[in-house]
């Protein structure tokens, strides 16, 4: 999905700053008085209820809750409060979503995140308050992802948890085929295993020899004590790994080892049904099936049976309605993918098809439109993704003890006419639509002060340079250049 970067970076920072002005008032107490509260999928809704947040967590919620005297109060009698949406997998928000190295689990996307990117702002605008950012799908074994909240000017401010897991793909990376992709995946784990075995062998041989030497020289043996630990829960074991102190294991191997040891979740991309089998086999062979979540393209729905049998959860990375062409007749048919997944008994979360109009709310709404019970549709964008990310106890619903992350909508959250008016993330009042410059721009086309008028600035072609009234052409040229640079980055996201 392309992203639009049209303001100058300076302006963008100013913009984000204004969004976060009130974020300073963190860790204090905050009370939200909402006209309606929809605490979570299937939970009874509350009329005129209050949510009290202390130290970032929900301290109380209900109709007659006492508001602490020192709490900041958001009085929103006309608004509807819902838990923030959870994006279980996204390759957006990075300067570049894909890495050229085929196997690079030692990388982390945190080094690639652009905190002032519009993606994060847009996410807030559409009620997405937690995002698991993973590398793009064009990889073999990709880097480790991070879970962020879309607020803050530095990556560290944003981070909820890192690493969130390793990204792998069973679909051919560019230039690969199904055969060579599977080969590359197996090679990665085979190399790991051989490396570990050799490490252990050398270690063992070393200590044996030392012992013999000591015997020969008549010295008493001072025993080796290894600080290492053996692999547990893996399909293949390297016996005696405990002999090797962790420090001595090549750090490039560590993430894959963690995967094999079941210590790190795996997000395995499958673009086609056949890829699902490759992914499941690799995960089984190497013992991390239990920690695996499949990120599937709509086309992969045909493998729903196999997915259900393997008892893994999936994240649907794409549109809910898939247009499929019959290979024999050329006729098209529309498949409602979440429906297929549900029917097969697969546990699934939905991901945004684009950062705005087809964000999580829209995906859920589509499901309702195609006859899925509302509770199930909403769960697929709140509780289930939260659970997939291991944040089920913190996120997904509005309950005492969970994160005080609340989205206030102008009406039914799944209605096209509703807008996100306020967002509170872990007790911090981080978004107010009435102060949002960019949303005014998107709706009314009012370009924010000291930024380039839209449209004209997007004409990549020098022939079509159009200056706005009173604009210094030199400035303009600078913007142009920046525009193109940013636009390209946007483009780069397409090949994820």
């Amino acid at each position: 999905m392309k992203m639009l970067h049209t303001t100058t970076r300076a302006a963008a920072i100013a913009l984000s700053a204004c969004l976060l002005a009130s974020a300073a008032a963190a860790d204090g107490k905050l009370a939200i008085k909402a006209g309606r509260v929809l605490p979570g999928p299937g939970m009874p809704e509350l009329e005129k209820a209050t949510i009290v947040i202390e130290n970032g967590r929900i301290a109380a919620i209900g109709k007659d809750v006492k508001v602490p005297w020192d709490a900041v109060v958001i009085d929103a009698p006309s608004l509807v409060a819902i838990p923030g949406y959870v994006e279980a997998h996204s390759a957006r928000g990075m300067d570049r979503p894909n890495e050229n190295l085929d196997v690079a689990p030692f990388l982390s996307v945190r080094d690639s995140i652009d905190p002032v990117g519009f993606y994060f702002e847009d996410s807030l605008r559409w009620g997405v308050t937690t995002i698991n950012i993973q590398q793009g799908n064009n990889c073999v074994v990709a880097g480790q992802g991070v879970i962020v909240r879309p607020i803050g000017l530095t990556v560290d401010e944003m981070i909820v948890r890192t690493p969130s897991g390793v990204k792998l793909s069973a679909s051919p990376k560019m230039g690969f085929s199904a055969a060579t992709q599977a080969q590359a995946l197996r090679r990665a784990f085979g190399d790991l295993r051989r490396a570990l075995e050799q490490l252990v062998a050398e270690k063992k041989e070393g200590s044996d020899r030392a012992r013999r030497e000591a015997l020969y020289q008549g010295r008493d043996l001072e025993g080796e004590n290894a600080k290492g630990k053996a692999m547990e829960g893996a399909a293949w074991k390297v016996t005696g790994l405990e002999l090797v102190p962790r420090g001595e294991i090549d750090e490039k191997l560590v993430p894959l080892l963690a995967l094999v040891e079941g210590k790190l979740p795996a997000f395995f991309y499958c673009g086609r049904p056949m890829d699902v089998h490759t992914a499941l086999d690799i995960a089984k062979e190497n013992g991390f099936l239990a920690k695996t979540t499949l990120v599937i393209a709509p086309a992969a729905y045909k493998a729903a049976g196999a997915i259900a049998a393997a008892k893994v959860a999936v994240i649907l990375d794409g549109a809910a309605v898939y247009v499929e062409t019959d290979p024999l007749t050329g006729e098209e048919r529309e498949v409602f993918v979440p429906g297929e997944l549900k029917q097969a008994g697969v546990r699934f979360a939905l991901a945004s098809a684009n950062p705005t109009t087809e964000s999580l709310w829209f995906q859920a709404a589509q499901c309702v439109g195609r006859g899925m019970p509302r509770a199930e549709a909403v769960a697929a964008v709140t509780t289930i993704p939260a659970e997939i990310l291991g944040l089920g106890k913190q996120l997904g619903t509005l309950e005492v003890g969970k994160f005080g992350t609340v989205v206030l909508c102008s009406g039914d959250p799944l209605s096209v006419t509703s807008w996100v008016e306020r967002v509170v993330v872990e007790g911090r009042d981080v978004y107010d639509r009435s102060k949002d410059v960019r949303v005014k721009h998107l709706i009314g086309g009012q370009a924010p002060a000291n930024t380039q008028a839209m449209g004209a600035s997007l004409l990549g072609d020098p022939r079509k340079v159009v200056c706005c009234e009173g604009e210094d052409p030199e400035e303009h040229a600078k913007h142009e250049a920046e525009e193109r640079a940013k636009k390209d980055k946007g483009e780069a996201e397409d090949d994820k």
């Binding site: 050329g330 098209e332 529309e334 297929e340 109009t357 087809e358 439109g369 096209v416 006419t417 072609d461």
Partner: protein
């Protein structure tokens, strides 16, 4: 829950008489009937009244949606590129009646579409309005030569270049700039005007241009950005000033119309809006504000929404009114913008565009409030034929 499959065979295929009832019937005549019913006889609407029951039921009924800017021509072989001005060429002659796109449109509630020539030409030729389903080409044609269609902007000059070396394609030709495109437009009309007196000046296409000048043939110009919309309107005003003619102007893909709505208002120009875009970025480098439809509607401009024949289900015409409403457009105006307005613009409102006795039985059946993301098109009738069967949906 799988698959919106079109009704392929079976008894209902040839049935053209139905009684359809719904909690709400939106007639697009300004009237909404609670607990209403539409009776269809031999492909025509017989009555629209209160009452339930019938063969098909659903939450809401609207008239079949009409899209005035759909591209179904397969490729460049649908336009004659040896000249940039080809007003006499009929897009109908290059149509692929077997294209899956027809069903795609029908499935999502679009029952009539205007097919326009590709924008690679300056003046591409004659558009045609057809139903998205039906037996033969003749039966499906609602209005032949429904408009003269062309483009202003970067498209007609795209990949053209000044002739150098041995020209081995048609792209070594004028125009190579917006200026060039505009010049071609004016030349075409002025020549056509002159040819009224001096028949020797007449050539292929002159007749069509003259019809457009006389206002007998709507002139539909694709113009995304505000400067292109200006050019289109100025062209109309100049021709009027010179006393050469009175164009019935329609601007297609008017993404930046929000910048200067006055242009359209003062020239009584109708606008076809392109699909709303996630982050404002729209075609030809334009920026498409979300409240464009609202602004134009409030200024009294006749607007029609379009899906531009999107392949992805979520980008089709049936979702565009929702986006427009999000931008502030009232429901009734949104409904009009995909039914009666386009019908009027294309001059087919006698047959389609609203639910009234005597009109074609083009109906859309909705699972919930129309245009909401939580609603789906679950049934479609075209000329009384059941194209999408609500009894098989959302099961």
């Amino acid at each position: 829950m799988a698959a919106a499959t079109l009704v392929a065979a079976g008894e209902s295929k040839d049935q053209t008489s139905w009684t359809v009832s719904a909690e709400r019937v939106y007639t697009a005549t300004g009237k909404v009937i609670e607990e209403g019913r539409v009776t269809v006889e031999d492909g025509k609407i017989r009555s629209v009244s209160k009452g339930g029951g019938g063969d098909l039921t659903c939450h809401a009924i609207t008239p079949g949606l009409i899209d005035l800017s759909v591209r179904i021509e397969r490729d460049l072989s649908s336009i004659e590129q040896s000249r940039e001005i080809t007003p006499e060429k009929r897009v109908a002659d290059a149509l692929d009646w077997f294209d899956e796109a027809w069903k795609r449109e029908a499935r999502s509630g679009v029952t009539s579409v205007m097919i326009n020539p590709l924008e690679r030409q300056v003046v591409g030729g004659l558009s045609v309005v057809v139903k998205t389903a039906g037996e033969s080409a003749q039966q499906r044609t609602v209005k032949a030569d429904s408009a003269l269609y062309g483009a202003i902007g970067s498209a007609p000059s795209q990949s053209n270049h000044a002739a150098f070396g041995r020209p081995d394609d048609f792209y070594s030709r004028r125009p190579t700039t917006r200026m060039g495109v505009e010049w071609e437009w004016r030349k075409a009309f002025f020549d056509a005007a002159l040819a009224r007196e001096d028949k020797n000046l007449a050539g292929p296409g002159t007749l069509e241009l003259q019809k457009a000048l006389a206002g007998d043939l709507p002139l539909c110009i694709q113009a995304w950005t505000t400067q292109d919309i200006r050019t289109a309107v100025f062209l109309k005003e100049e021709l009027a000033r010179e006393g050469l003619g009175k164009l019935r102007l329609v601007v297609d893909a008017a993404a930046e119309a929000w910048k200067e709505p006055e242009l359209l208002v003062r020239s009584a120009t109708a606008a076809i809006l392109p699909p709303f875009s996630a982050i404002g970025r729209s075609g030809d480098g334009s920026f498409f504000a979300l409240d464009t439809a609202k602004v134009l509607a409030e200024r009294g401009v006749t607007i029609a929404l379009s899906g531009h024949g999107a392949r992805a289900a979520s980008e089709r015409l049936c979702y565009q009114p929702g986006h427009a409403m999000r931008g502030g457009l009232a429901f009734d105006a949104a409904l009009a913008a995909v039914t009666i307005n386009p019908a009027r613009i294309a001059g087919i409102d006698k047959r389609v565009g609203s639910l009234e006795a005597g009109k074609d039985a083009d109906l859309v059946l909705w699972s919930g409030p129309p245009f909401e993301a939580t609603s789906a098109v679950i049934g479609v009738l075209v000329d009384g034929r059941l194209i999408l069967d609500p009894r098989t949906q959302n099961k």
